[in-house]
Structures are given as C-alpha cells and as structure tokens.
C-alpha cells in the first residue's frame, strides 16, 4: 500500500511538470499547426535564469525564497521575450505550414542550443533548496519543495484548463484550433490570437522551467530531454488536444514512476516509446483526438 501510494505521489510529481510543458506544445500545434522544437528552450531558459540569478540575489542578502521569486519572474520574462522574437521573426511567417514550421523550429533549436551554451556554459547549475524538509502523506515521503511544485503545477493546469473552457479568449483559441477559417469568418482575429496562443504556450513552458529548477539538474540542454517526452505525451493524448495533453503527460508520469520501480529507468524509457508506436498504429489521432 505504501509503495503504491509512493508511486502515485511520484507519478503526480512527474506528471505535473509534463502537463505544463505538454499543454504549451499542444496549444501551438492546435492553433498554428507548428511542431515547435523551440518549446524546450523557453523551458530551459527560465530554469537557467533561476539557476544563475538565485545565488547572485541571495548574495545581496535577500532570503532564498525572495531570491527565487525574483529569479523566477526574470526567467519568465526572458522566456516570453525570446518567444516574442521567435514568433515575430519566424513562426508568424509559417503559420499552418507544417513542413516550413518544422524546418524553421528545428533550425532555431540548433541555433539556440549554441547561444545557450555560449551564454550559460555547458555545466550543471547548482541551487540550494528553496523550501527545506520532507512531508509524509499516508506513509509516502516526498520533499516539501516537490509537494509545493506539484500543487502549483496542478493549480496552473487547472487555471489554464478553466481559461480555455470558460473565458472568451479561451473559446476563441479553441475555435481557431478547431477550424481557423470558420473562426475568422466569425470575426475572430486569427493572427492576433496566434501570437497570444504562442506566448501562452511559452508562459506554460517557462512556468514549468522555474518550478523544476530547484529539484532537477539544470543544464542548457535540459529542454531537449523534456521536449522528447512531452512529444510522446502529446502524440499519445492527441496532437492539439488539451485534455489529450493532460492524459498523455500523466501517462508518461505513470510509465516513468511504475516502470522505473518495477524494472529500471532505462526500461521505462524504452517502454514509453514502444507504447507510442502502438498508439500510433491503433489510434493514430491519439487517445483523445483534437476536434
């Protein structure tokens, strides 16, 4: 029972970050039909900024928590600024162009890899814990920091889901994702919404980045690792589908936690990609297809 609970808690922790990451990825695909290989860089740059700034701000005499909040805000701003540049000078010219967008973002990802390596160095960024201590939930142990991460990620996911379901902007985004021409005929400004959708996706990635920074290994290449798994989540859930991304991300969390426990981490990773093959064979549009 205790093992099962621990695995459940682990699944939720891992899944929470993948949800935030995957939501942005699926949103961009749904609205723009662009497979965004730069998404991982929005995630990585915010985490890197946290890794760089927290020790510097702490050195000025502020508490670690204040330093983290300042660094997180700076990381999110840098990530959004990067997203704005990528959109204005790149993505905007390749809206709903699957092949063009694919090549563009792939190229941009390589360029940004180099820029990040030059700017941040290739090494691992160390960070002291933001919140000390462990908590025990029905026998399952986890750090307080991870619990907070999990709760914040769940709240953000819930907030985004609500925003997409209930607000005027969310409905417009969903309408554009479903049929952008029909939406434009109804007077919805597609290009303006595409920019908002792209920035919203980058915001999700950057939030995931600042949340994971204190508990993970922060390097300039960390975005690529999350991108690969989040692609799996999005493909399993259904490209462009918001509920699909959530289900897919939780699915990745289950495979990593349960597969990693009963077999090993390497087998769990292989299993993840094998399952994607089966999903693509039998449900090529994913478990919860995009409308």
């Amino acid at each position: 029972m205790q093992t099962a609970l621990q695995l459940l808690v682990t699944t939720l922790q891992i899944g929470a970050v993948y949800i935030l990451f995957s939501l942005g990825l699926t949103l961009v695909f749904g609205i723009m039909r662009v497979v965004n290989f730069v998404h991982g860089h929005f995630f990585a740059v915010s985490a890197l900024m946290v890794g760089v700034l927290v020790p510097k701000v702490v050195a000025t005499g502020l508490t670690i928590q204040s330093a983290y909040l300042i660094a997180a805000a700076a990381g999110i701003l840098v990530s959004l600024f990067l997203a704005l540049i990528v959109y204005k000078f790149g993505i905007a010219r390749f809206l709903r162009d699957l092949e063009g967008g694919f090549i563009l973002t792939m190229g941009l990802a390589l360029v940004l890899d180099g820029v990040f390596l030059e700017s941040f160095g290739g090494g691992v960024r160390s960070m002291p814990p933001i919140i000390e201590g462990n908590v025990t939930i029905l026998g399952a142990v986890l750090t307080t920091q991870r619990l907070v991460l999990c709760v914040v990620a769940a709240l953000l996911t819930g907030g985004l889901y609500w925003a997409l379901s209930a607000t005027k902007l969310g409905k417009a985004l969903r309408a554009v994702a479903a049929d952008h021409e029909a939406a434009m005929l109804q007077g919805i400004p597609y290009h303006g919404l595409a920019l908002i959708g792209f920035l919203l996706a980058a915001l999700m990635a950057s939030l995931a980045g600042v949340l994971i920074a204190p508990v993970s290994i922060v390097t300039p290449t960390m975005g690529t690792d999350y991108l690969m798994k989040s692609f799996v989540a999005v493909v399993v859930g259904g490209m462009g589908s918001v509920p699909g991304a959530i289900v897919g991300a939780l699915f990745i969390g289950v495979i990593e936690a349960v597969g990693g426990y009963f077999f090993d981490a390497s087998t769990a990773t292989i299993a993840m990609f094998v399952i994607v093959i089966f999903v693509l064979l039998f449900r090529p549009r994913g478990l919860i297809p995009h409308a």
């Binding site: 093992t3 691992v124 936690a257 090993d264």
Partner: protein
C-alpha cells in the same frame, strides 16, 4: 657607417632569434562533452590539454630531428553520444587534419575509433571500459585508469572498512561506459562475497531520478554504487535516496569531484566514497597540481579529477613518444609508446603496462585514489598504484 653596421647586426641577430624560435604547430584534437551532465569532464579535458601545451611550449616544445613543435588543442562537443562522437571525429580528422587526439566518453570514443585506426591517427582513449583497447587497436592508448584498476581498489577498501556490508545495488548509465563498468563492478563485488541485489540502468537525458531511487531504496541494500553516472546524477540519486530514508554506504566508483555531486545532492553527498576524484588539500599534493586546480575550478565548475586530467597526460605521452621515436608519424610513435616514460599530472616518469588485462601494454600505470566527501570536501582515504 658604424651605425649602419650596428643596425645591420641587430637585424641579423633578430632574424636569427626569430628563426630559432619559429616552431611548427601540431594539432591535437579533443572529442569531449562540452555540454550536459558530462560537461565538467569535457571542459576540464580542454583546459588540461591547453595547460600541457603551454608547459611544453614554455619548455621549448616537442623536439624531433632538430625541430621544435608546439601543440594546439582543438576541442569539439561530442555531447557524450556516439552520433556526435562520429561527427566530431570526422571534423577533427578530415577538416582539421589532426593526427593525434584524445577523447572522452566510451560511446564517442568507440565511434571515433572506427576512423582513427583506419586513417592512421593516434587516439588517446579515456574510455571507462576495456572495449576498444588492446592488440586489435594498435593506434589506441589508454590515458586513464578504468574500472579494471579502480574497482578492485574500491572493493578492497570498502570490504575492509565495512565487513558487515553483505548486499549491494548498482546503478549505471545505459551506454558503453555504463555497461563496461557494470561488467567489472558486478563481477568484483560478487567475487568479494557481496550479493548484488539489482543492477539498474538509466538512459542519458533522464532528469527525474525519484522512481529509480524508490526502487533502489525498496531493496534495502547495505551499499549503493553509482559506478558510472556523472557527478550531477550521482548527487540527484543520493538526494532522492536520502528523502526515502536510505542510510547505507554510498559509493560513486566513477565519482570525480565533490562540487558536482554536492551541487545536486546537497547534504546527501556527505560520506560518498569516490574512485576517480583526487584531493588538492593534503601534504602529498604538489604545487603544480594545486596551481592548475585553482586555475581550472572557476572554468569548469569543479575540481580537477581523474576524468579531467587524461588529455594533459595524453599530450605528454605524445611528446615522450615523438621524441623517443624522433618522428611525428602516429604509427612510429605508437610502436615505441609502450616503452616510453612520460610526465604525468600525478607523478613524473610514468610508464605503460596492462598486458595481462588488456592484451598489450597500453595502460598508464597511474595511482588510484579512494576518496570520501567529508563536509563537502574531498578527503583521501587510500592511494593505490595498480600492479600490472
């Protein structure tokens, strides 16, 4: 007339001095991880190659047939993968035209080796495995101690210090490095009468180690050995194990430095034994070692270690081989290499051995340091020079 003669003499003297100082340059390639978790090893390798090159330049260069040669280190990022290792080797060999190179990471090394042996390039291998070394690879020389030398020393030390320890769980990276290490580690622990409860692997790029730690902790081993993961992963795994209440013996046989482990492991790094780190505080440390370490630390983010120093030794191996062979031809240098003695970062006058283990004398006879992280610093527990 007098002043004309004076200036003429000065001009001739300057030209002669310039000619005497004119040294040709030997390109020395480095294939190493300059990004990701293995970056400290790659950056350290580049730093150490340049340090050796500078020392050799200051001492008059590599002297072959009356000419002096300087060394230029050219490094590219192999990202610790075979695919990138192949690209880097192609660039170094075919574009830069290097005839000598050192490489870091078993997978990229094996990838590079398919080119170096065929194209007659001398390869100094930092492979943490036995594969790719021996008589079938006449142009390849090891520049690092490997699990074949480190693990017996570690097993000997731990079994003596903790005779009550009867079980062990192993955790390795799923690549040539990890599998090579696991083969040696598992066999030696079993031979020492310690039961191996599990031997798990993870793939590069894994960022979440909680499930792996949960699995290891559930087995309740007396010892957990992370025999091949890089420092940041070692720290992350032991941190998760600490959260789950693990209080057993912690080993990182391939552990290279405290800083990288402490960076991700925090307090959980305390007490970890390492087989590939060295201390720069003790009385046995030379001024030269201390100085290079101080210069390297800000650049690579951690102390120099067994994993960062091989390219330094490789440059000196090349110097010793070329000067003894009086040739810059890689094949001529390789033929004479097993008999040379070179200046190592660890000790002067180091030679090659290892015929029994590897099939030919390609292994440098360097010492193995068993160290432990105490109060965030590396403390030497034993120094053992392997017998070949």
């Amino acid at each position: 007339m007098k002043s004309v003669m004076k200036y003429g003499f000065l001009a001739v003297a300057s030209a002669a001095a310039l000619a005497a100082n004119a040294q040709e340059t030997i390109k020395f390639g480095i294939s190493a991880p300059l990004s990701g978790a293995g970056a400290p090893w790659g950056k350290g390798s580049e730093f150490m190659c340049k340090a050796a090159a500078k020392e050799i330049k200051d001492a008059g260069g590599i002297k072959v047939k009356g000419k002096s040669y300087n060394v230029e280190c050219i490094a590219y990022d192999n990202k610790y993968t075979a695919a990138e290792g192949t690209k880097v080797a192609q660039t170094l060999l075919n574009r830069d035209g290097v005839k000598y190179m050192c490489a870091v990471g078993s997978a990229p090394i094996l990838a590079a080796q398919s080119l170096t042996e065929r194209q007659g390039v001398l390869l100094f291998s930092q492979a943490w495995t036995k594969s790719g070394k021996g008589p079938n690879f006449p142009l390849t020389f090891s520049d690092i101690v490997s699990p074949i030398e480190v693990v017996p020393a570690m097993v000997q030390y731990v079994t003596k210090a903790y005779p009550q320890a009867k079980t062990i769980a192993l955790f390795n990276v799923d690549d040539a490095n990890g599998h090579g290490a696991e083969e040696v580690v598992r066999a030696l622990w079993e031979k020492a009468g310690v039961k191996v409860l599990t031997s798990d692997f993870y793939v590069h790029g894994t960022t979440e180690f909680q499930p792996a730690a949960q699995r290891l902790a559930a087995l309740k081993p007396d010892i957990v050995d992370l025999a091949s993961p890089p420092p940041s992963v070692v720290g992350a795994v032991f941190k998760e194990l600490a959260v789950l209440g693990y209080k057993g013996i912690k080993l990182a046989t391939d552990g290279t430095a405290a800083e990288g482990i402490v960076a991700t492991g925090g307090a959980a790094a305390e007490g970890i034994y390492m087989g590939a780190a060295m201390t720069f505080d003790g009385p046995s440390v030379t001024e030269h070692q201390r100085k290079l370490n101080e210069e390297a630390k800000p650049l690579i983010g951690e102390s120099l270690s067994i994993a960062t120093n091989p390219c330094y030794d490789a440059v000196y191996m090349l110097k010793a081989g070329a000067e003894k062979a009086q040739s810059l031809e890689p094949k001529a240098i390789a033929a004479i290499m097993p008999t040379v003695r070179y200046k190592s970062f660890y000790e002067d006058n180091v030679g090659f051995g290892g015929k029994e283990a590897y099939g030919s004398a390609i292994q440098p006879m360097q010492p193995v340091y068993i160290t432990q992280i105490v109060n965030g610093k590396v403390v030497e527990r034993a120094k053992i020079t392997p017998k070949y």
